[in-house]
Subunit: 363 residues, 2 copies
């Protein structure tokens, strides 16, 4: 069966690597000439809104999915009208607007930081008065990896933030003095069956995910699953859904969802029985979902900007190298490593060996 993927970045690349063993083939649509999944399938090189190419994409595949959450809604609807597409377009829409997303969490009784939409300069003053400082002004759309955000610590920060972000729909959110950032990765099958990976503790660096560590038997596992299940069922979701939370006072606050395989789930390739990539494909293809159990202690370390030499990485026991075939560039995710170990202590030792290879400027 040929599966069509909107987007051909590293997520598409890892989906394809997981999919060939299940006898799937792939066609990608991506406007980038150098899209890094392209060598792993047919690459339709065009803008997402090019309807002639979109029609060709739909003709070429029996089933469609996406690896990029900013696929325009009308593109998703065009595809979904022609070929089964999972997750459904409404899930894509739900994660694209931070305001709609927060309102959905509210409606589903999932705690969220206080928030207010901001459409004008006066509305920002009002929001800050209501929410209190510190708070965060964010674009409602197209934000990722810390882009499209400004932290407001004092009244003096408001003008600069407004100048940086005005002109697009904005939302102001309370700044959560979080203890931890957790994500919950769920997989939901076409028949509504759900499985959950152990929650993942995430550490960001300059707004970009740096380290993800799965936590076996975390006290917040059940609560994270309850929230994530509620969103998935609300959206008639099929596939892998990632839900990112802040933990404050030992409680979860919903931050955002991603309707796709997620960077905080890359450790599952070696760290879990069945990876998020295989489970996403199993879900959308209507196959039974695979075990999400941990195989042992593991963590994922992102390579941002550039990766250390493979020779050095491959010399560290338990390090599994995943390079995406992308040219080095500041702030760009060019690869990751999963570290596996027999014990938590060994995992930390191996992590230290890996971190010693990262230049201080980007560590």
């Amino acid at each position: 069966m040929k599966i069509g993927i909107l987007g051909a970045g590293q997520l598409g690349r890892m989906l394809a690597l997981a999919g060939y063993p299940l006898d799937f083939d792939f066609v990608f649509l991506d406007p980038a000439a150098e899209a890094c999944a392209a060598p792993l399938g047919d690459h339709l090189h065009a803008d997402y809104t090019d309807e002639a190419v979109l029609a060709q994409f739909c003709d070429a595949c029996e089933l469609a999915t996406y690896e990029f959450e900013n696929v325009p809604a009308k593109v998703a609807e065009f595809v979904a009208a022609r070929v089964p597409m999972y997750p459904p377009p409404k899930a894509l829409g739900a994660g694209q607007d931070r305001l709609g997303e927060k309102r959905m969490f509210d409606a589903l009784k999932i705690p969220v930081p206080r928030y207010m939409p901001v459409a004008a300069r006066e509305a920002l003053d009002l929001a800050v008065r209501n929410i209190g400082l510190p708070c965060v002004l964010k674009t409602r759309r197209m934000g990722y990896d810390g882009k499209g955000q400004a932290v407001l610590r004092t009244e003096a920060d408001l003008d600069a933030a407004w100048e940086k972000l005005a002109g697009q729909p904005l939302i102001c959110e309370a700044f959560v003095p979080f203890e931890r950032e957790l994500s919950c990765l769920a997989v939901r099958g076409r028949d509504g069956t759900m499985v959950f990976y152990p929650v993942v503790e995430n550490v960001h660096h300059d707004g970009i995910l740096r380290v993800s560590t799965p936590r076996q038997d975390d006290p917040l596992q059940a609560e994270a699953e309850t929230h994530t299940r509620r969103v998935a069922e609300h959206l008639d979701y099929v596939g892998v859904l990632a839900f990112e939370f802040f933990v404050a006072d030992g409680k979860l606050y919903g931050n955002e969802i991603a309707p796709r395989v997620h960077n905080s789930g890359h450790w599952t390739i070696e760290g879990a029985e069945i990876s998020q990539f295989e489970n996403h494909l199993r879900a959308i293809a209507g196959l039974p979902l695979g075990s999400t159990a941990l195989r042992g202690p593991s963590l994922m370390f992102n390579f941002i900007g550039d990766a250390p030499p493979t020779t050095a990485l491959a010399a560290i026991p338990g390090v599994h190298v995943h390079l995406y075939g992308k040219a080095p560039k500041p702030q760009r995710k060019v690869g990751h490593a999963t570290i596996t170990a027999a014990s938590e202590a060994e995992l930390l030792e191996r992590r230290a060996l890996l971190e010693a290879l990262i230049p201080p400027s980007s560590s």
Copy 2:
């Protein structure tokens, strides 16, 4: 770095799947239009002896290897003269002629079943008198999966065997009443460093490998490593080398080598820290070799002729499905499953669930 692979069957496919995460790209040369590794790289579709295409293959890659041991010697030499090629052509030659192979084992003091070359009908009589019955008449070249062999149990079998196989160089070997068949998978780096996977116990069915089970702490591990190291060093080997043995009276007898990744090592994808495919690529690319340690109990089960429905396979816990994208055909290896489990008992339970899906005619 682009790696050229002579052959684009399932071994090439699994090499490519292991290689993309290390940022390798692939070009394959294979005469089959439907070669199953083709979607995972550039496919030069031509006969191995087509020198124009061979030159194109060499121009396209920085490093070459092969996944098919019957690549003609002069093809290997053509490539090796233009681009670094591992394993070296002499390793390819060593495994292509059963007589030369046995003589090499003899010279390296590796015990082998008694054997004699057979060039004429009278030589067969002589060989049978010397070796005794039962024995096996085999073609010296191009035999695999039990093809090109005839077992001689009584004098009455000689004429039929001669009729079946005459016309090509033959060898007669003593039939070893073996207790077990073991293989040893070694990896040798460019610098001569060697690592060994735990020996694998193999069960064949109609001459075709059916089940491979790695054996932790097998009493014959050290002896198998000694023999395999001797062959690898003799051949200036680089890459994964498989050595198949018979076990009789608790002792190893050398049967044959394969100068490539091997079906009895497919369990390493999920069952070992670093798979045979990744370790082959690490070795030929001059990277440090990865750990060959077991991750837990595992075994590999081959799908021959056809595979059970993926839906049924995916429903069994611990089953990892590997389909090769090949059309069903009697005797054809179309895929395999690795089974992983937390204990030997659980492994056997899961194996029973898998075997229940195999039609009795091919089980």
